[in-house]
């Protein structure tokens, strides 16, 4: 909302009693929330960033030393004159997980947008039983991620999984596929589950955008004799664009930090290891707490940069056109 607010409001210098009272009340009202947020988000984040500049280890947190940017990048020059680089910025595994995350984000968000658009268009139409459909698509969204990951793990199981059974019966595959194990399909499996789970959310956001388009524009198009496909491309799409952009950025941020689904579904598969999984692995599983903190910090940084870029490039208006 206020993101787009440009004109600075005048200071309350010569403010009346009323204004002063309101501004004072506003800060009192805000204080508890701000304190809680600072404690629960601000402080821990600062700690993480701080740790990323130390050599802290989980087994001995107290004995940490400030080492500057070494976790990110360090180098030593060998006697032979060759320089060897080390650190997160040259860690192929990190870049692999960055790439995995980006790939996952692009594909999932794209498909969720397309499917979400389809579902939203269906829900925007007037038909009998619309309520049921709307309720039905909320179900995947409401199911806890843990539970849906387990459910799908079960369904994607290569031997007892119903997905293979269906595909075999339909003759689409000739042999049972190990969805979550095979490096070629692991990402696909994660994508399937993620798309199943979050398309409803996308659809609802898009639906809201669709419903803000005045109906008489469609009627004007009808009278102009524009066929429905053209109407979609030339009228609907440009008009939901603002809502769509906001929906996409939220989904993108969510996808970029994906953790629990992958953690449960394809825990250790190198093909699906994302930035969050990488960070957690280093933080807790490996003895590289500081290194993991550096990864968390980078993740945070990447999210911030992408958001800002997106807002600037996409001219996203968080006020929804208000």
């Amino acid at each position: 909302m206020a993101v787009a607010e440009t004109i600075a409001e005048p200071a309350a210098q010569a403010g009346s009693d009323l204004l002063r009272q309101r501004v004072r009340a506003a800060w009192i009202f805000l204080a508890p929330m701000l304190i809680v947020l600072a404690l629960v988000a601000g402080w821990p984040l600062l700690r993480s960033i701080y740790f990323s500049f130390t050599n802290a280890s989980l087994t001995n947190l107290e004995a940490r030393q400030w080492i500057g940017f070494e976790n990110y990048l360090s180098w030593i020059t060998l006697k032979s004159g060759k320089t060897v680089y080390d650190g997160l910025l040259v860690d192929p595994l990190w870049w692999k997980s960055v790439w995995n995350t980006v790939r996952f984000t692009i594909v999932s968000v794209t498909l969720e947008t397309i499917f979400g658009m389809m579902v939203a268009l269906v829900l925007n139409a007037d038909f009998r039983g619309r309520g049921i459909v709307r309720a039905a698509i909320l179900v995947p969204w409401a199911i806890p991620t843990i539970v849906s990951a387990k459910m799908w793990a079960w369904m994607l199981n290569d031997q007892f999984g119903i997905i293979n059974d269906i595909l075999l019966n339909l003759g689409l595959i000739s042999q049972k596929i190990a969805w979550t194990a095979n490096p070629d399909t692991a990402m696909l499996a994660v994508l399937i589950v993620d798309i199943w789970k979050t398309t409803p959310f996308m659809a609802l956001l898009i639906l809201a955008g669709l419903q803000m388009i005045p109906g008489d524009i469609y009627e004007a198009a009808k009278i102009d004799g524009v066929n429905p496909v053209k109407v979609f491309w030339k009228v609907t799409l440009p008009l939901v664009r603002p809502a769509l952009m906001v929906a996409i950025i939220f989904r993108m941020l969510d996808a970029l930090r994906i953790f629990d689904l992958i953690y449960v579904l394809t825990a250790n598969n190198a093909q699906t290891k994302t930035m969050s999984v990488f960070a957690r692995e280093n933080l807790f599983d490996f003895d590289k707490f500081a290194y993991g903190s550096a990864a968390s910090t980078m993740l945070f940084l990447i999210l911030t940069v992408i958001t800002i870029l997106y807002i600037i490039i996409g001219k996203v208006n968080f006020e929804g056109g208000r």
Binding site: P214, D216, I217, E219, A220, A221, K222, I223, D224, G225, V226, N227, K230, K234, V235, P238, L239
Partner: protein, 363 residues
């Protein structure tokens, strides 16, 4: 060159009956205005004609052809919406050209020519490259009309096109629509409004709708002077006609009525002798009343409120009925609150309605 024929048009939404059988003959080139209170079905009827809604029963002919099943774009109509319904992301030019571009079979030149011509007529040529949001309300409305003109329709449909404009702009655009109609003599126009001034000034014929039925169809002055019934009488005119319950004293050759609280009055209306003794309603328009000091008067009472409107003055006179009688008088006549006045009128201005509200024809 398009006449419209509506026969027994009905419309039902689920279980809600909105239109109860509308019959109308609209001649080619006529300017027809639908008026009526909110929710009476004006927009619905217009949308049925446009093809935006399905007709539940009855037939609709345009130019002699039954079009019940025809898609809106094939009916040779164009529609101007209350909220303009411009495509917000397209320039004025594109808004106007959109329909033609997609219709195929029109060359780029032809489209361009038609758009520029329409823009010229409406004086919006300077804005062709702007987006709708960069235009004022009046300009937007003109673009909407321009878009309709480009379609070169046989029938122009307007749904309260002026109601989003401010008073001054409304007058101006109203005049423009009037001119537009004159410049396109063969094009039939159907116009929905709830503003009487628009209806009176634009229409060749007005269709008064009430609760899904046609109350009266006729030329504006016809409706104003000879309303068929109480509804039409009260609906047109501002302030409304004073209507007072009365008893029909006698009919036949010497028709007289006795409004509640007043003396008996002779009227100029064809009232059957048999109606004597029945109840009815007696009506007279505020602008037809004048203050008299003479013997003959229709109402006598105390002035309750005086409202000076500048050019005229309204006085509300308490004559003993529940509602005061309103009279519109010249503002140089000195009246003050509390004054006792007598009001009179020429007898030919009196209206009498029977028990069901149907007017006795005036003589």
């Amino acid at each position: 060159m398009a006449g419209l024929l509506l026969r027994g048009i009905k419309k039902t939404y689920g279980t809600v009956k909105v239109l109860h059988g509308i019959d109308l003959d609209i001649k080619s080139g006529e300017f027809i205005v639908f008026v009526g209170p909110s929710g009476c079905g004006k927009s619905t009827l217009l949308r049925l004609i446009a093809g935006l809604e399905d007709i539940t029963a009855g037939t609709l002919q345009i130019d002699g052809e039954v079009v019940n099943q025809l898609a809106p774009s094939k009916r040779g109509i164009a529609m101007v919406f209350q909220s303009y319904a411009l495509y917000p992301h397209m320039t004025v030019y594109d808004n106007m050209a959109f329909g033609m571009k997609l219709a195929k079979g029109h060359s780029q030149d032809e489209i361009d020519k038609r758009v520029r011509q329409a823009a010229d007529v409406l004086q919006i040529t300077p804005y062709l490259d702007r987006l709708p949001k960069q235009l004022s309300g009046g300009q937007r409305q003109r673009v909407a009309i321009g878009r309709a003109i480009v379609r070169d329709p046989k029938v122009f449909l307007f749904d309260e096109p002026l109601s989003n404009l401010d008073a001054a702009l409304r007058v101006q655009t109203r005049i423009e629509i009037n001119k537009l109609h004159e410049s396109m003599p063969g094009v039939t126009m159907i116009y929905v409004t709830h503003d009487q001034v628009e209806a009176m000034t634009l229409a060749d014929r007005i269709v008064v709708l009430n609760a899904g039925r046609v109350e009266q169809v006729g030329a504006p002055m016809e409706l104003y002077h000879n309303p068929d019934n109480l509804f039409v009488a009260r609906f047109l005119g501002s302030p409304s006609m004073n209507t007072i319950p009365c008893v029909i004293e006698s009919g036949g050759s010497d028709p007289r009525v006795k409004p509640d609280g007043c003396a008996s009055i002779p009227v100029k209306a064809t009232i059957p002798a048999s109606a004597a003794g029945t109840k009815g309603t007696f009506g007279v328009r505020p602008e037809d009343l004048e203050i008299t000091t003479g013997d003959f008067s229709i109402f006598r009472g105390t002035v309750d409120i005086v409202e000076q409107l500048g050019e005229v003055t309204l006085i509300y006179v308490d004559v003993g009925t529940t509602e005061p009688v309103v009279a519109k008088i010249a503002n140089d006549i000195p009246v003050a609150k509390g004054d006792k006045v007598a009001l009179t009128t020429e007898l030919r201005h009196l209206h009498v309605f029977d028990e069901k509200g149907i007017a006795y024809p005036r003589t």
